[in-house]
Structures are given as C-alpha cells and as structure tokens.
C-alpha cells in the first residue's frame, strides 16, 4: 500500500529548503527568508493535519513508513508517530515556524543563517518522527554542530563570550551523547544475536520483553543513557551548559534549544528508557527523583539571583525540567503523561519567552532586569508575550502549563511524597522571580528612551501569535493535548505493572 509519505515530507521539507537556499545566491535575502518560512509553514500545516487526523482510538504508531536502509546494521528508515511523539512533533514544528519568524531581521550572512536554522529544525523534528534508534541518534546529533556555528557567528557575548558559550554547550552535549551512544550500542548488541540485529524501537522493546536484555545490562545501559539524555535534558550535574548556551545563542537557537532540543532528552528517556529498559528505569528511579528535586530547587534558587533575563529564563527552564524528571521518576502512567504534556507546554512557553526577549534585545540591546523598565507603556504586544509566557511558567490555570504540572504532582505525590512537597515549593521561587521580573520590566515606571523602539508589528508578531495560540488553546482545552498523550503513554501501563517489584538502587525487589 503506497500512501502519501506525509511524515517524510515533514522531515524533508526543511532540508530541501536548506539545500535550495544553499544553492541560491546569497544576496537574495528576502527570497531566502520567504522560502524558509514557506517550508516551515508547509511542515507545520502537515503536522497539524497529522495531529488532527491521528486515530486516538487505535493508538500506537500511525502514518508509518518503512524502508530498509543499512541491512547489516539493521538500520531502517522507518517513520511513525504515536501519542508521545505527535505532541512533540507539533511542538517542534510550531517552535520551528516561530523561530524562522523571530530571525526575520538577521542581516549578517543571511543565507548561512537560514540554511543552518533549517537543518537544526529538521533535525529536532526528525528526532520525534523516526522509529529507528540509529536515525534518532543521527538526527539529534546532527543538530549540535549547526547550533554551534549559529551561536558562534550570530550569538551575543554578554556575560561570557559567545565562543565560550558555544563551545561549552557543544562539548557538554556531545560528551553526553558519547554515553548515550554507548548505552544505545550496548542495548543494540545485547538485544539480538549478530546478524539479526536491529535498531528498531519496537523490536528492541520486544527483545526486552522477551528477556533478551538481562537485568545487569538494563541497569548499565540505563545509567549510560541517563547521563546522555540527562545532559540533553539539563539534569542536575549536567546542566551547566544550558544557561550559558541559551544566553549566548541567537534568539532562534535559544528557542529551539530550550523549546525542543531539551525535550529530545525527555522523549528518548521515555522511548528508550521506559519502553526498552523498564528494569533499568526502575533501578535508577530514586536517583532521578533526587536529582530532579535538586534541579527544581537549586536552579530556581539560582534564577532568583539572575538579572539578565535570558539567564533567568534559562535557569527557570532548568528548574522546570526538574518537574519533567520528577514525572519520569514516579514511574506511573499518570505522572509520565503529565511529564510528556509538560514538555510540550514548557517548550512552547520557553520559545515564546525567548522570542520576546530576543525581540527586545534586538531592538534595545538590553536584557537585564535593571536596565529595562516599563516596556508596557510602549510595547503592548511584547507585554502580552511576556505575560503569557511568564504566567504560564508559574503554572497559571487556563494556560498550557497548569494541567500537566498538576498531573505530574498527582502522579508523584504517592510515590515520593517528601520530594514532591519539596519540589512544589520550587513554584514559590518561580513565582517570586517571574513576577518580580514582569513587574519591573513591563510595569515599571515609564522610561522615555524606550519610546523610540517600535513594538512588534507584522512579521515580528508572528511568533507571538503562533505560540500564543497554542499556549492559550491547549490551556483552555487541555483535552486536545492530554488525550493524545494518554494514548501514547497507555502502553507503558502494563510495563509499569511488570516492574512493580523490580529492585531499585535502594534495594528491594524479588
């Protein structure tokens, strides 16, 4: 049956656009921008179509495509989306579209910029599309070097030089990937005998179910993957790269990095960690919980002290990822689905935040709390954007962040009550620094020198509109998001049942 390869189109459209732009002469700035925007628009619309068209009753992988790719490694070009990857795909498409529009005013080496940006977007959205571990690795590492270059060339050197920021980010991500690769290969090698090996997610999961992957290997592999994905996810000891990285990056890269790239870590932890290595996940869950708690508290505490808005958002994002990790650590369906939804929420919220800060910075070249005052008087659109994002990060009901956060806490409170309580207190810190920032920057006294800066108009407002629609829409109708996520997480339920009595690092089991 030959159907329209819609997922391939979503994956390849940005890449094709990047290729075309690379071949265009560099001086056609407008053409380049419009082409990129068009490509992303196509991808986003197709994503929305898939999202709407996804058969929730049936669940599981849909829109699958399968082409054998490297036979002796067992690699296949196989795409597909389920309830977990579909929201993530939506996230990446939307953020990608917003990122393109946020970069509309880039004037320096426009051609290279959009080529790299499109590659990054294709990489991150592709990572959610593939059902093959090999391609997953390829796509999510493919992002790193273009991101490096973008920070290097178009980044900003505020507190640390952009060279330093770029290098730090890249090396952390890559060394993390080293562990990830190691874990993945360990998994790959031990799942099947030589000759029958495969990188297919489902096949690997089947192998694990059938007991091909011993408990020791599961524990080892999960540990390696935890380090790897943890550094993507900015889990506590591996988070060091992320504030500097975000702060140094150009707006679009901050948006994609914080909004989507980080979520790849979380996504992979579910996809590989839970589906394939449930025993390993069970073993390390307490560690994750503790680290997540540290994430929440420590990062929001640091965020309190930040004056640079970008750093503040960055630390807040680290702290928010702690909630996601907490959701994972609980190892029950409720909290995991909360975590997945929270990733989407968080991605959209952060992207919006960064796009707004980026706009302000682009115009005023200022981004510190002490420097910016009373923007609401001159820039109503910016104010809307800041308010939406800020309130969402507080977890205000009616916006996208609330339901997922709530779900996570519902899930975790019965497993790790103490940690849950401590973590919830992190919200207080968050509320404090976010509100303080909003109060000063937006509603501070009117400062006339900001009057000359224009508000977002026409093109500039597109990220705000696009992201805001989802922010509010999913907040008002959480079912749109949660139902899809639930169908994706549902297959984990029997797995979690199965590992109920498995040993953890604290002992127990058997």
């Amino acid at each position: 049956m030959m159907t329209f390869p819609i997922l391939s189109v979503i994956l390849l459209t940005p890449l094709a656009a990047a290729l075309i732009i690379a071949l265009l002469p560099g001086r056609l700035h407008d053409t380049i921008r419009q082409l990129s925007a068009f490509a992303m628009m196509v991808a986003t619309i197709l994503t929305l179509f898939v999202y709407a068209d996804y058969d929730m009753a049936r669940g599981g992988m849909q829109y699958t495509e399968y082409i054998p790719w490297i036979t002796d490694l067992g690699v296949a070009y196989s795409l597909g989306v389920d309830g977990i990857s579909l929201p993530m795909l939506l996230l990446s498409s939307v953020v990608g579209l917003a990122a393109i529009y946020s970069s509309w005013h880039v004037e320096k080496r426009v051609k290279e910029y959009f080529v790299l940006l499109l590659i990054v977007i294709a990489g991150v959205s592709g990572a959610f599309l593939v059902r093959d571990l090999f391609f997953f690795l390829v796509l999510c590492e493919m992002v790193v070097i273009p991101a490096y270059l973008m920070v290097l060339i178009w980044g900003s050197s505020e507190r640390v030089s952009k060279e330093h920021a770029a290098m730090k980010m890249t090396i952390f991500l890559l060394v993390g990937s080293a562990f990830m690769l190691l874990g993945v290969l360990l998994l790959y090698v031990s799942a099947y005998e030589s000759g029958m090996r495969t990188f297919d997610f489902e096949a690997l999961a089947t192998a694990a179910l059938m007991g091909h992957i011993s408990w020791e290997i599961q524990v080892t592999a999960f540990f390696l993957l935890l380090i790897g994905f943890g550094s993507h996810l900015s889990m506590f000891p591996f988070h060091i790269w992320s504030p500097d990285g975000y702060a140094g990056a150009p707006t679009a890269i901050s948006m994609i990095n914080a909004g989507v790239l980080k979520k790849i870590g979380g996504y992979a932890l579910i996809r590989i960690g839970f589906f394939i290595l449930p025993l390993g996940a069970k073993f390390w869950a307490p560690v994750i919980a503790v680290l997540a708690m540290i994430n929440v508290i420590y990062a929001s505490y640091i965020a309190l002290a930040q004056r640079d808005i970008k750093y503040m958002i960055a630390y807040s994002s680290v702290s928010h990822m702690g909630y996601v990790l907490l959701g994972f650590a609980a190892l029950n369906v409720v909290s995991v689905s909360g975590a997945v939804a929270y990733m989407v929420a968080h991605g959209i919220m952060l992207a919006l935040f960064f796009s707004q800060v980026g706009y302000v910075y682009e115009k005023t070249e200022l981004r510190s709390v002490g420097d910016l005052w009373g923007l609401a008087h001159h820039m109503p659109h910016i104010t809307v954007g800041f308010m939406l994002a800020g309130l969402c990060s507080l977890g205000l009901p009616g916006l996208i962040g609330f339901i997922p956060e709530f779900t996570i806490f519902v899930g975790i409170i019965e497993v790790y009550p103490v940690i849950a309580v401590i973590a919830v207190s992190g919200i207080i810190f968050t509320a404090f620094y976010v509100l303080r920032m909003l109060a000063r920057v937006l509603f501070g006294p009117r400062v006339e020198r900001f009057a000359k800066f224009p508000d977002e108009r026409k093109i500039d407002i597109v990220p705000l509109v696009v992201l805001g629609v989802f922010l509010v829409g999913f907040g008002v109708f959480p079912g749109l998001l949660m139902n899809v996520v639930d169908t994706g997480v549902a297959p984990l339920a029997p797995l979690f049942e199965l590992i109920q009595d498995a040993p953890t690092i604290l002992g127990g089991g058997h």
Binding site: L73, E141, M142, L149, L152, M167, L174, V175, L181, L182
Partner: protein, 484 residues
Amino acid sequence: MLQAMNFTAISVEIGIAALMAVVLVTDLVLKKDAPRCPVVWLTVAGLLGVLALAVGMYPPDGGATAFYAGLYIVDGYSVFFKILFIIGILSTVIFAADYVEQTLRHKGEFYLLLLSALLGMCVLASANDLMTAFVGLELMTISFYGLVAIRTDSPLSAEAGIKYLVFGSGSTAVLLYGMSLVYGMTGTMVFQNIAQGLGLVFSLGLIGVVFILAGFFFKLSIIPFHLWAPDVYEGAPAPVTALLAMCSKAAGIAILLRVLFVAFPFLSPYWAHLLAIFAAVSMVGGNLMAFRQTNIKRMLAYSSIAQAGYMMTAMVATNAAGIKAVLFYAMVYVFANVGAFVTVSYLETKRGGADFTSVRGLAKDSLLPAGILMVALLTMAGIPPTAGFVGKIYIFSAAIDAGYLWLAGVGFVMSMMSVYYYLLVIKEMFRDVEEGEKVVEEHLRLPLPASAMGIIAVAFSLIIGVWAEPLSIFSNVAVYTFMR
C-alpha cells in the same frame, strides 16, 4: 614458468609500475621549468585506469586468487585496500597539483614517489608472507622518506624527513628482527603455514610476535610508538601529510590485520588484550595531546594517532564484524583526510602554513575551503550525519559485542572530547575577527581540481553518513573473502 603465473591477477601492480615508467619518461622529456600539467594529467589518467582495473577485479563471488606460490594473494580484502590506496593517491594527485606547481622544486619526482609508494601499498595489501609484506612495507616507507623531505626550500621538511627516517628505519629493524624470529621458530614465512606450526608457543617465537607488532605499531603511530608522528606530520608538505594519515596508515592496518588474523589467529586471546590496551592508550593520549596544538597539521597528527586507536578498537573484536568496521572506517577516513588536506594544502600554499592563525576568518570570504575543512574534521570526530559516525557505530558495536564495553566507552567519550579541538579550528574559521587581529584579507579561491576533490570528499562523507549501505556491502564482500 610463464604459464604458471596469472598476470591478470597483478595487473594493478603492473599497471602502476608501467605508469611510473611513463611518468618518469614524460617528466624527463619535458623542459626543466615547464609546468608539469602533462605529468599530472598522465598520472590521473593512468590512476583512473588502474582504479578501473582494480574495481573490475573486485570479486562479486568472493573469489580469491593466490599467486606466485601463495605468497601473493589477490582477494576481495586486498583489492578493497588497493582501491582505497588508489583513491587516496588519485585524490592527492588531483588536489595537490596546484601545491606541487607552486611550492616544490622536484615536481616530477613527487608524482613518481607517490606512485612508488602506491605500488608498495598494493604489494603490502596482497602480501601473504613476511617477505612480501616486508618488501611492500619498505617500498612504501622509503618512498615516504623522500616525499616527506621533498620540499627543498623548507628546513622543516628536511628535519621531518630525517626524523621519519630515523624512527622508521629503527622500527624496520625491530620489525625485521621479529620476522626473523618468527621465521626461525616456524620455519616458514607464509602466513597460513606460520599459523599451522607450533613454533610460536616458544618464547623466542612470542618475542618475535611482539617485535612484529611493535614494528607495525610504529607505522600506525600507536602510543607509545607515536613520537615521530607529530613532527613528521607538521614538517611534511601538506599533501604528503595527507597520504601519511590516510594511505600509509591504512596500509599498516591492512597488513596488521592479515598478520594477526592469518598468521597468529590462535594467539588472539593474547593480542586482543594487548591491542585493547594500546588502543585505549592511543585514543586517550592522542586526543588529549591534540587539545593543546595550535597547528592544524600537528593537531591532525595527534588526531590520527587517536584514529589508529579507534581502528584498533575494532580489531579486538577478532571477528568479521570487527574487520568490516576497520575497512569501513579506513575508507571513510581516507575521504575525511582528502577533505581536510584540500584546504590545508591550499592554506599552506597561500598563507605559508597551517597554524590556527592562518585559518582565522577563513569562512568569511572563502566559505568553500572552510566548509570542506569543517565537514572533514567533523567526519574525523564522528559527528552525524557524516560517515565517521556510521564508522564509529560499526567499530564500537563490534567492540561491545566482543565484551569490551569499557574500551568502547573510552572510545566514545574520547571521540566526543575530540570535537573540542576540531571545533577550535572551526571556531577560528567562523568567528568574527576582532580589530587588530592578524588576518589575511585576501579572498581565497580554491582551484577547480582541488575544490572538486573537496566537494567529492564532503559529498561522500555526507552521503555515506546518511546512507551507508553501498560502502557497507562493499566492505562486507572484502571481509567475506578474507575470512574464508
């Protein structure tokens, strides 16, 4: 006698030798200061012909032709390496044409020595006994002594040549001593017969094995036998450095594999551990030492030490998967080096060196050389979607499969750490140049042949990185004939 020899089997070698003669005569006929274009064209055409011969010889049915009483074997494995060597030399000839014309005084000799090195490598790949291996190795090495020192205007080149010679001849002596001991203990030089005898269980035989390994490690610049590599890589003319990194190393790998797997298979429990340790040390040491280099060629030297470590990592698997990984990676590494040295040679002609300062701001005006260099370096680092990534997957999955999880871990972590020093180069190329920094403003236009080679190398790396099937099948055939 005449009938007993199957000359088609060595048509590649004969072709190269004949090409050498033709090139030599052409070079002599040309006027002393005339440009060497005819020589280049001739060499390229001849090499293409030889390449076609070699490809035509590639056995789809996995057949192997033993030749000259079994001392010389033409199987998929050896033909694979021959193709690799020819590609390496061919691309070097193409991209170095400009370099040679502008920098070297002995232009014809450059091509001649390249070809003789190629001949040596081909012999090495086909060698099935210690003697042939030795002759091939020396033909290659001695040609390289000349090539390294071929820049008469540069004291560095002469110094590098001397250093290479001193270390190389010392290692040759050690290798030969080991060979003599192995021969003495087994009474034969043919690999298969060495494996059949029991002579190697005696201590003298084991000492011989160790000496042989040490000799090969010298050629592969495995730590702690690497001392020559950085100096030689830095001092040699850039195209020669490229060849040292890709072809010379691959040739060493080719013969090392054959010796280990055909001659000493039953010692594999011993040498596998030995190789694992040396591989780990090389990967860690090579990468760490590369961190503080400020010269690209020198950095690539240390990186090549690490690369040899990666390839050896695959060897510890002692099975078909391991060999296949080595072959795959060696081929990828060739293209990575071609790409890197397209730019580095060009910089050496235009900016007189390959220091980090000489690439500063390169990407601003000359995106093509900068891009080629970047992709090549990322291929060496093994970042997807370059072919280096697939190669590393092959290598480390083979190692993990053989139970060397720690080794693969070291390899992965080091290969990701290595991105740091590759990024230093990329950073210099792409970052904004501040006021007052020394930078050559001129816009550098890569000559057409070099840019073609660079683009081919980049395209190869990216295509194989995404779609590895062709090269995978190609190397599988080689391994299949080798393991029979």
